[in-house]
């Protein structure tokens, strides 16, 4: 029996599995040790690199260094890393001096080379560098990459284009953002904000005039970075013509002036609660004390969020001091509390007294 089992194929497989494991283990140990060795060597090289370049780039904050060495190709990524880090951390003339250092050290040419031939991480770093440098010669290559299917690559290229020529690329960025769901909203919005309201407002407004409801929702969300005075007419128009709840909510969330106050008051009684929420919030921003009663009514809404936002809006409108005759009409405990945010900070009594003042059950009593 023993011999029968011993000669079984499973034993031979076990033997081979064991031997293969030993071989693989030895290989992995050697690989890890080699990688660690390489890492230690890289760390030493990097330390040497930093002793040269860190003080040199730091000097750029005050003046252009007199002697700028060339960046060897093998140190390109380390240089881009450090240079971009410093570049993103400073503003004004220091950035210009950093750009000069990058050009005189040959880093711009290295970036252009990596743009086409590098690995993904090298290309990303090269794109970021060329964008920060404002390298106009890379425009066409970057425009091609901005249409690449890889979302991070294409978005990084779009950002670089905006850094090089914001007026020339804003149209491309907005139109791409509308058709590329893989470009994160927050990153596009951050890019638009970074570019500045002066540049992005008109193209955004122009796009909104022509957009359908689906695109309008996105554009209205981006509109937060635009100048309100420029955006307001298109927002008002959308508010009146749209049948989309999403667009309506987005419009209401943007209103900053009382021109549409009457319409907003009507939306407080809209059948969709999401619209009512935005309407009461808008009322908090643009309404007057005359709207307190309407907000009190909203605090009896069937939906918690409407009640909650109405309470906040009421606190905003009345500055936390709702007239007593209205306070007693407040339909729910939390509503009264929300309208009294100042008391908490003004309270000087003991903890028990503060508790008596703030625990909802006691307030209700």
């Amino acid at each position: 029996m023993v011999s029968a089992l011993s000669s079984d194929i499973t034993l031979r497989l076990a033997l081979w599995a064991g031997l293969a494991s030993v071989a693989t283990s030895l290989f992995l140990v050697m690989l890890i040790l080699c990688m660690r060795g390489a890492l230690l060597i890289r760390t030493r090289h990097h330390a040497r690199f930093l002793t040269v370049w860190r003080p040199l780039l730091a000097e750029c904050l005050l003046a252009l260094p007199p002697d700028i060495p060339r960046v060897p190709a093998r140190e390109a990524i380390a240089f881009f890393n450090l240079w971009n880090y410093v570049h993103e951390s400073v503003r004004g003339e220091a950035r210009e001096r950093l750009n000069t250092v990058a050009r005189q050290s040959g880093a711009d040419a290295l970036a252009v080379t990596l743009l086409e031939t590098g690995r993904l991480d090298e290309r990303l770093m090269a794109i970021a560098t060329l964008g920060s440098l404002g390298e106009k010669s890379a425009w066409s290559a970057l425009s091609r990459i901005a249409a690449h299917e890889h979302p991070i690559l294409s978005f990084t290229a779009a950002r670089a284009l905006m850094q090089i020529n914001p007026e020339g690329s804003i149209g491309l960025v907005i139109s791409s953002a509308l058709v590329r769901p893989d470009w994160p909203f927050s990153k596009v919005a951050a890019l638009l904000k970074e570019t500045g309201a002066d540049i992005v407002s008109r193209p955004l407004v122009h796009a909104l005039w022509e957009a359908d409801d689906r695109k309008s929702v996105l554009l209205l969300r981006y509109m937060k970075v635009a100048h309100y005075t420029l955006a307001a007419p298109s927002i008002r128009k959308r508010l009146h013509v749209t049948e989309s709840v999403e667009v309506l909510c987005a419009c209401l969330s943007l209103l900053e002036d009382p021109v549409e106050l009457e319409a907003v008051r009507e939306f407080v009684r809209h059948p969709v609660w999401a619209v009512r929420v935005q309407a009461v919030r808008a009322l908090g921003r643009i309404g007057s004390t005359a709207d307190a009663r309407l907000l009190l009514e909203a605090m009896g809404d069937a939906e918690w969020w409407v009640r909650h936002r109405a309470g906040e809006a009421l606190a905003l409108l009345t500055g936390g001091s709702l007239p007593r005759h209205l306070l007693v009409e407040t339909p729910e405990d939390y509503g009264r509390i929300l309208t009294l945010p100042l008391r908490r900070e003004q309270s000087t009594g003991s903890e028990e007294e503060r508790e008596a003042e703030w625990v909802p059950e006691r307030l209700a009593a």
Binding site: D8, L13, A17, V29, H308, W358
Partner: protein
């Protein structure tokens, strides 16, 4: 003859199981390897300074605390210093028997503040809501004891922001952890949950609530757990993530979309592994509803946690974990081979059943069987040796692969002698530690099968970065 045939059949069964589990893990390893390489290349620009735009998704950090008087203030101070554009910290004191609340009141100047909430999830009664006047983004909710799941549900009810992150009160986040963990939500609006990496803090140096130097502990049990955590996260989670089949997000560090979790019913009361159960339930409910979603793992946001350094605590933890795994799977059976189950229902769930849930049965009884068969002469001693040789060899390869992934990415242990020590641990864990672990997990399975009520054992924490303390976990 009958016994011999039986022995042969069992031997074959064990062998095929052995092949299956290792092929599975090997596949996960390969997927992890490529995923991690791609991930690190794509995120190269993340290291540059970030300017917050105000468009980031705000996050509520939920910190359930039970008898955490020794650690809670220090943990909170580090949480309040995280770098992220907009977040709040909601501590939920789950009816602690010690002075957790008093310590918080004294250290953070808490005052009672009544607050209305939508109350979407049913929980035990809340006794009071406290605001910290000096820290506008800190609130403490004091509630009746109801367990961790209940505390987290209270936290969800009070959370103001659309994303919430559950964090253990005794864990530490790296300063940029939130910023990294939120990325999947920004990049893909379908993302409903994301988990980061949890690492063993034992042996590390901490200052001001943040880890300043990583290191290896002297305690050998903690050393074994370092390798286990590397395996579990770097290829366990990373392997499943590209398939959208991550079934476990650690309760110590996970980020969730609040409305999705509320729609799924929140954390389930009475479960031990409430973190895993929630994730499996999210998969199940979203799959059943045909909703497009993503649950993902992000390797670089790191949460440091303390690993048990004594046998009793470790045993309790492993028994509980396996009970939790059992509950998570059995409460969500309908995900298994569901017609819309995708990789979660057709690959990860069956894999989890066969190679994780039932694994201790095969491992413990398989080992006992082989010993019995060798003693009775049904297999020869050299044959037994060969099986052990193969089993240990493959185990070593898988652990070394986790070390390789670590070496390719984070280099948390920078010294050469630390790497050499980890090699030794990879080898040593196969001689006793893994077998004992399998036995503990078998106990967990037994307790689950016997419907024994889940109990939280006594948790001994050394908290080497704080003062030593022993606390009793919730009962």
């Amino acid at each position: 003859m009958g016994h011999a045939l039986f022995a042969l059949l069992i031997q074959r069964l064990i062998f095929f199981y052995f092949i299956g589990i290792n092929l599975g893990y090997f596949s996960l390893n390969v997927i992890s390897l490529f995923s991690i390489m791609r991930y690190t290349r794509e995120r190269v620009l993340n290291k540059l300074p970030l300017v917050y735009s105000g468009f980031e998704l705000p996050i509520s950090l939920l910190v359930p605390a039970y008898n955490e008087e020794a650690n809670v203030s220090e943990s909170l101070r580090s949480l309040l210093q995280l770098s992220y554009s907009e977040y709040e910290v909601v501590v939920v004191n789950d009816g602690s028997k010690d002075k957790t609340l008093e310590v918080l009141k004294a250290d953070f100047g808490l005052v009672l503040y009544a607050e209305s909430i939508p109350g979407q999830l049913e929980t035990k009664a809340v006794r009071g809501v406290y605001h910290a006047l000096e820290y506008p983004n800190l609130r403490v909710i004091d509630k009746m004891n109801g367990g961790k799941a209940d505390a987290l549900n209270v936290g969800i009810n009070y959370a103001r922001y659309p994303l919430f992150c559950s964090i253990d009160a005794d864990s530490m986040l790296q300063r940029d952890s939130l910023q990294l963990l939120v990325q999947p939500f920004l990049e893909d609006p379908k993302t409903v949950a994301a988990g980061g990496t949890v690492r063993v803090a034992n042996g590390c140096q901490v200052q001001g609530g943040f880890l300043i130097k990583s290191g290896l502990p002297k305690n050998f049990l903690a050393l074994f757990q370092i390798v286990e955590y590397l395996r579990a996260f770097l290829f366990g989670r990373m392997g499943w993530s590209p398939m959208n089949a991550v079934l476990i997000i650690s309760g110590a560090f996970g980020l969730f979309r609040k409305d999705t979790v509320i729609a799924a019913g929140g954390y389930r009361h009475g479960t031990i592994g409430e973190d895993m159960e929630l994730v499996v339930r999210l998969h199940r409910t979203l799959r059943e509803a045909g909703t497009q979603y993503r649950i993902t793992y992000v390797p670089d946001p790191i949460c440091w946690t303390e690993a048990p350094e004594d046998w009793k605590t470790l045993k309790n933890q492993r028994v509980r974990w396996h009970q939790g795994l059992s509950q998570s799977l059995t409460l969500n059976w309908s995900l298994l081979f569901h017609r819309r189950g995708g990789a979660a229902g057709w690959v990860a769930f069956p894999f989890m059943i066969v190679f994780e849930w039932l694994n201790p049965v095969i491992e413990v009884f398989g080992t006992l069987f082989m010993l019995w068969a060798a003693i009775c002469g049904y297999i020869s001693l050299p044959a037994l040796g060969l099986f052990l040789f193969a089993a240990i060899g493959v185990g070593v390869v898988l652990s070394l692969n986790a070390l390789l992934l670590e070496e390719m990415t984070f280099h948390a242990y920078p010294k050469m002698r630390q790497v050499l020590l980890l090699f030794l641990i990879v080898l040593a864990e196969n001689f006793g530690y893994r077998q004992i672990n399998a036995y503990w997990r078998l106990i967990g399975l037994w307790r689950f099968a016997a419907r024994r009520e889940a109990k939280w054992g006594e948790m001994k924490r050394t908290a080497s970065w704080h003062s030593p303390v022993k606390v009793e976990e919730r009962g």
